[in-house]
């Protein structure tokens, strides 16, 4: 599919809208994880509005592509994306993290339309995605499975167990994306517990590895297209991102991992995200 300038501009607008909704959600809830939600927004926008074979009107279609948000704390981004894509009314975003709401702190597949897997406890999503990718092959359905993990998250041992499985079962319908913002709760990922070099590690585990600017829509589209052509092994995209991307005072600041803005901060964020 040919991507036009117009398409790129449109996706950029969508990503901006998702970012505004993330800020709304976290501000309303006075709780949540804005940093990691903003870092992966462009990835979600490209997947849900350009790459994935999905249809909000056929949300249970067994042949649809699947998405697993393994870094479940970025729920605000996923909810905003799904609402923007038409899975549920935007109004619902106001209930984020509140009592009796659909939009739990971490994604709940049983209650939120469009969510393919519940998540929250880190390190489990790639295994789940493998299970989906194996099922796709068993039934010759041919759907693709995308799994987004945090960079700190891959410190979990299970991630590497799962990486072995992806490769062992030659899951070429699986695309792993690492949101490499290099920040985790206790600080810089390389200072807390280095995961580097990610590329070589994943290559040695049998992945075809791509590196990309994870906040650049154009590059993301190109890399997802390339990943689709890989046969006989799984793909991994190391997406270099900026934590808190789009809100100047949140960018690359570890404090914004799990903190809500006050009124003044909220106004400033919304102002920045409204600029052309």
């Amino acid at each position: 599919m040919k991507i036009t300038e117009q398409d790129i501009l449109h996706l950029k607008e969508i990503a901006k809208q998702i970012r505004r909704d993330i800020i709304e959600e976290v501000y309303n809830a006075q709780s949540g994880h804005p940093g990691g939600a903003l870092s992966c927004t462009d990835i979600l926008a490209v997947l849900y509005f350009n790459q994935m074979n999905i249809d909000p009107n056929k949300k249970d279609d067994p042949n649809r592509d699947r998405f697993v948000l393994s870094k479940g704390h970025a729920s605000a981004a996923l909810y905003a994306t799904l609402a923007e894509r038409g899975y549920f009314p935007k109004e619902e975003l106001k209930s984020f993290r509140k009592i009796n709401s659909l939009l739990q702190g971490h994604p709940d597949m049983k209650h939120v339309p469009g969510i393919d897997m519940s998540s929250g406890s880190l390190g489990q999503g790639l295994s789940v995605a493998n299970g989906m990718a194996i099922s796709s092959k068993l039934d010759e359905k041919g759907f693709r499975v995308y799994c987004l993990v945090g960079d700190g998250e891959i410190q979990e041992g299970q991630f590497w167990e799962a990486a072995m499985t992806s490769s062992h079962y030659k899951l070429d319908n699986l695309c792993l994306i690492i949101d490499n913002n290099n920040l985790q709760v206790d600080g810089n990922v390389d200072k807390v517990m280095s995961i580097y070099p990610i590329k070589q590690k994943l290559q040695s585990f049998g992945f075809e590895v791509f590196q990309v600017d994870g906040n650049d829509i154009d590059s993301l589209i190109t890399v997802f297209q390339k990943a689709k052509t890989i046969k006989g092994k799984p793909s991994a995209i190391i997406a270099k991102t900026v934590k808190g991307k789009g809100v100047s005072y949140m960018e690359n600041q570890v404090d914004w991992h799990g903190k809500a803005p006050n009124e003044e901060e909220y106004n400033k964020a919304m102002e920045e995200l409204s600029e052309a």
Partner: protein, 308 residues
């Protein structure tokens, strides 16, 4: 009870292979123990639907969860210690919270693992699994019941845990026996005592029942294979109808069958219950039968207790 013996892990494997014939959605996963859990029976028949995940229990459980989201009915087996111990978080968050249709099998449960000793003798799995919402917990006592359970688990929507044993034990039920999830099986109507039991200890309870009868002590044995949901009615009925209540299990007395019964009694009909089981200690190496004797969960221990 017949002379013929079979380990419930063996029955599990045979039942899986049968199940695979009738239902294409059945997939089986193991963590390098297919030879021991007996899931290899399925592997032989349906290699394309069998997935060895290697020695990676956490990955196995979450992979099964992913398969279940796509309409598969995964049966994932390994030793009870590893599935419920090592992969607890995966069972809780990736299987039970989303209420996925994953069937977990913990084989080699309890002291009766024998020679492998304490590290492999899982004595807390009933406690761990019964505490997780949405998860049904079963501990079958013989071949017939295990085969029925495996079939039934495939029909029931949602996560289940089945606890099987390494040691061969007598076949208790004939093929016509009717079972129902949440309904215990009563053996005899004796009123001197009720022996509640589960899994491998049911046969011991039945042996004890016979021995006690010879001494003029009439007891009934209740096979509590369905631990969650539990048959509350039969617990209360036995508390009303019999003079003594005891429970016997190849599991810790903390949080096992005894605790499940005590929970029901304390809320609805306070009564004294004697719990036979492993008393807040780890196991050790030895022959399964020696261990059952030493830790007082065999027929001899039951008879001794009821003669007090």
């Amino acid at each position: 009870m017949k002379e013929e013996k079979k380990a419930t892990r063996q029955s599990y494997g045979e039942a899986l292979a049968q199940l695979g014939k009738n239902n294409e959605n059945i997939v089986v996963l193991d963590a390098d123990l297919a030879n021991a859990t007996k899931s290899q029976n399925f592997k032989k028949e349906f290699p394309e639907r069998f997935f060895d995940i290697g020695i990676a229990e956490q990955d196995m459980i979450a992979t099964a969860a992913g398969m279940a989201t796509c309409g598969k009915i995964p049966f994932a087996s390994t030793f009870a210690i590893f599935v419920t111990g090592r992969a607890y978080d995966q069972i809780r968050n990736s299987v039970c919270y989303p209420n996925l249709n994953v069937k977990l099998c913990g084989s080699h449960a309890g002291l009766t693992v024998g020679e492998d000793g304490a590290t492999h003798q899982m004595l807390e799995d009933i406690n761990i699994t019964k505490a997780i919402p949405n998860l049904k917990v079963f501990c079958p006592s013989d071949d017939t019941q295990t085969k029925w359970l495996v079939e039934e688990m495939a029909k029931v929507q949602g996560p289940c845990y089945i606890r099987t044993a390494r040691l061969a034990s007598p076949i208790i039920y004939d093929e016509n026996q009717k079972f129902e999830i949440g309904k215990a099986i009563q053996h005899g109507n004796g009123e001197d005592a009720t022996i509640f039991s589960t899994g491998i200890c049911v046969a011991e309870a039945l042996k004890a029942q016979k021995q006690l009868e010879a001494d003029g002590i009439n007891v009934r044995v209740i096979d509590m294979f369905s631990l969650k949901p539990v048959d509350e009615e039969i617990i209360l009925k036995c508390a009303r109808e019999t003079k003594r209540l005891i429970s016997v299990e190849d599991h810790s007395i903390i949080g096992g069958l005894g605790s499940i019964i005590a929970d029901v009694l304390s809320e609805k009909m306070p009564a004294k219950l004697t719990k036979l089981g492993v008393k807040d200690t780890f196991g050790e190496s030895g022959k399964a039968t020696e261990l059952m004797n030493k830790y007082k969960i065999d027929a001899e221990a039951i008879v001794e207790e009821l003669k007090k």
